[in-house]
């Protein structure tokens, strides 16, 4: 079984063109004992400058390799520089706990760096230690940073408790991020989320705003819960069209 790190290294090297020697030299430096955080900072800074920012554009076979190496890993929308940054972080041998290094990088990252850091979540060691860092990302005002966590990323499905999961779904609706690309959307549906979503729909109706249809499949499985049933009946009595989504 090829590891995600080996896959990244193969994909990026194949796409690095004339910068391949630079890339391999840098990765060797980062992996060597005694590698410094300054070397990591410089690599992260130079990655887009040396490798460019093109889409990684993985083939169907490469995407299948990714899913085999880490179930749920979907680097289909990764960029070359972003992938290199994740690879650099996976290659770096520091003395500090991984979450400390991650925090230090995240705190001073530009938007593209932050997106790359969060897209790498399913690949990092000690995933549970990143609880606070992930929370900071979800709280970000930068929609693409939020989406780096929420979209095509198995980390939330695998590591979020119900409260954090539900609030991620709700925030996605609030900021106009699609629900479709959220990994595990159906598996993690729960009655508390259904209750929150129905209440949210009521608030939207009251304000004369449209309700996104994509929330109803998350309510449907719990339509017979008394509290939710009462809300749905009331909505139907008011002439709201929700039947087709809940059945």
């Amino acid at each position: 079984m090829t590891s995600p790190k080996d896959l990244l290294q193969k994909w990026i090297a194949e796409r690095a063109g004339a910068e391949r020697p630079w890339l391999e030299d840098q990765l060797a430096t980062l992996a060597a004992p005694g590698a410094t955080e300054r070397e990591l900072h410089l690599f992260l800074g130079f990655a887009p400058r040396r490798l460019g920012k093109a889409d990684l554009a993985l083939s169907p076979d490469e995407l299948a390799e990714a899913d085999a190496a880490r179930p749920g890993w979907q680097p289909g929308d990764w960029s070359l520089d972003g992938a290199a940054r994740v690879l650099g972080l996976l290659s770096y041998r520091g003395d500090r706990p991984f979450s400390e290094t991650f925090k230090d990088l995240r705190r001073t990252s530009d938007a593209a760096e932050m997106i790359a850091l969060y897209r790498g979540l399913p690949l990092y060691p000690e995933p549970e230690s990143l609880h606070f860092e992930v929370g900071e990302g979800l709280r970000s005002n930068l929609k693409p940073v939020f989406e780096a966590i929420a979209h095509n990323n198995p980390y939330p499905r695998d590591h979020f408790d119900e409260h954090r999961w539900n609030h991620m779904i709700l925030k996605a609706l609030f900021i106009g991020a699609a629900l479709g690309p959220i990994t595990g959307l159906k598996d993690r549906a729960n009655p508390e989320l259904a209750r929150i979503l129905v209440q949210y729909a009521r608030e939207r109706w009251a304000a004369g705003r449209p309700v996104m249809e994509e929330l109803w499949p998350l309510v449907g499985p719990f339509a017979e819960t008394p509290e939710i049933r009462a809300q749905l009946d009331r909505a139907r009595a008011e002439g709201r069209i929700i039947e087709e989504f809940v059945s």
Binding site: L42, G45, F46, R49, A54, T108, D110, A112, N141
Partner: protein
């Protein structure tokens, strides 16, 4: 006409300003690191400020179809707090390589003290080391001497004048700055810096070579439409379109484009990856038209001239 405002402290401005700038034809702006009006007393607040201008503010501008770039530096006022200055200097190399950083700046002199001189030189050394342009803030007080001194020190530290923008010029300083081969920035800023009627006279006298117009809008009484209003006034006063385009767009792009971080294609044909991440795009590019001063709110109903 597409415009660039190469000196705008957007952290101090509202979304109304972004809308007005976009409507007036501003496609890109540069936000120099500066003094916030309140001195910072912890290195950490300075670090978070730098993170803001490379992160959130860049994203915020993108929502209005404006490309946002910034300059990274320790400003002259805060260079006088040695403990803070030492701490900030440690962090600058980490920020100077961030996406969209087009220069080290704004740096230079305020009171022309020994500490200001020390940190100005250290930052010029950094700029030279990583091959970035420099944005020099010239002092409000004793400006003429401070401007000459700034250029003397740039040359002493081995910088090529073509990599240095000397900003906040006036009638008294512009001659020497241009003669010595530097870019000359003019901040259209009511009552303290340069008015746009005076700016038009300078354009008639000096032409467009290496002259850059900016608004320097910040937390003070300033106008984020300074560049647009100057462009409009210049065109109305018979200055050629070619000259106006150079001083309100082309020269800033040429000077700061030397960073490799700012290209016309950034706003003319942004790559898909940018549309997915930071930039909403500008659906109406205003090529070949005079800048339009639209008035989103009644508070903008004021004259064309800034004096």
């Amino acid at each position: 006409m597409m415009l660039i405002d190469p000196h705008a402290h957007m952290i101090s401005r509202t979304t109304d300003d972004y809308e007005a700038m976009a409507a007036a034809g501003v496609v890109a702006l540069i936000e120099p690191a500066f003094w916030l009006g309140q001195p910072r007393t912890f290195v950490g607040t300075y670090v978070d400020y730098l993170s803001t201008i490379v992160g959130w503010e860049r994203f915020r501008a993108g929502q209005f179809g404006i490309r946002h770039y910034c300059t990274i530096g320790l400003n002259s006022k805060e260079a006088n707090n040695e403990e803070l200055a030492e701490g900030v200097m440690e962090w600058l190399p980490r920020f100077a390589l961030k996406e969209g950083v087009v220069a080290i700046g704004e740096i230079g002199y305020d009171e022309q003290t020994a500490l200001e001189d020390k940190y100005f030189r250290l930052q010029l050394t950094l700029a030279k080391e990583i091959d970035l342009p420099v944005m020099v803030h010239t002092p409000h007080r004793d400006k003429k001497r401070g401007t000459s001194l700034s250029m003397d020190v740039c040359e002493e530290m081995g910088l090529d004048p073509s990599m240095v923008v000397i900003d906040h010029n006036n009638e008294e300083t512009v001659g020497e700055v241009l003669d010595r081969g530097y870019w000359a920035g003019f901040s259209i800023y009511p009552s303290t810096k340069m008015g746009n009627a005076r700016m038009v006279e300078l354009l008639k006298q000096y032409g467009s070579e290496r002259i850059i117009v900016d608004s320097a809008c910040d937390w003070g009484i300033s106008d984020c439409l300074g560049v647009a209003k100057t462009a409009q006034l210049a065109l109305q006063s018979g200055v050629s379109e070619e000259v106006v385009r150079a001083v309100c767009y082309g020269n800033a792009l040429a000077a700061y484009g030397q960073s490799g971080q700012m290209k016309e294609s950034d706003w003319l044909s942004p790559p898909a990856i940018d549309q997915r991440t930071l930039y909403e795009g500008n659906s109406i590019l205003r090529g070949g038209r005079e800048p339009v001063i639209e008035e989103p709110g009644t508070q903008r109903r004021k004259g064309l001239t800034i004096e």
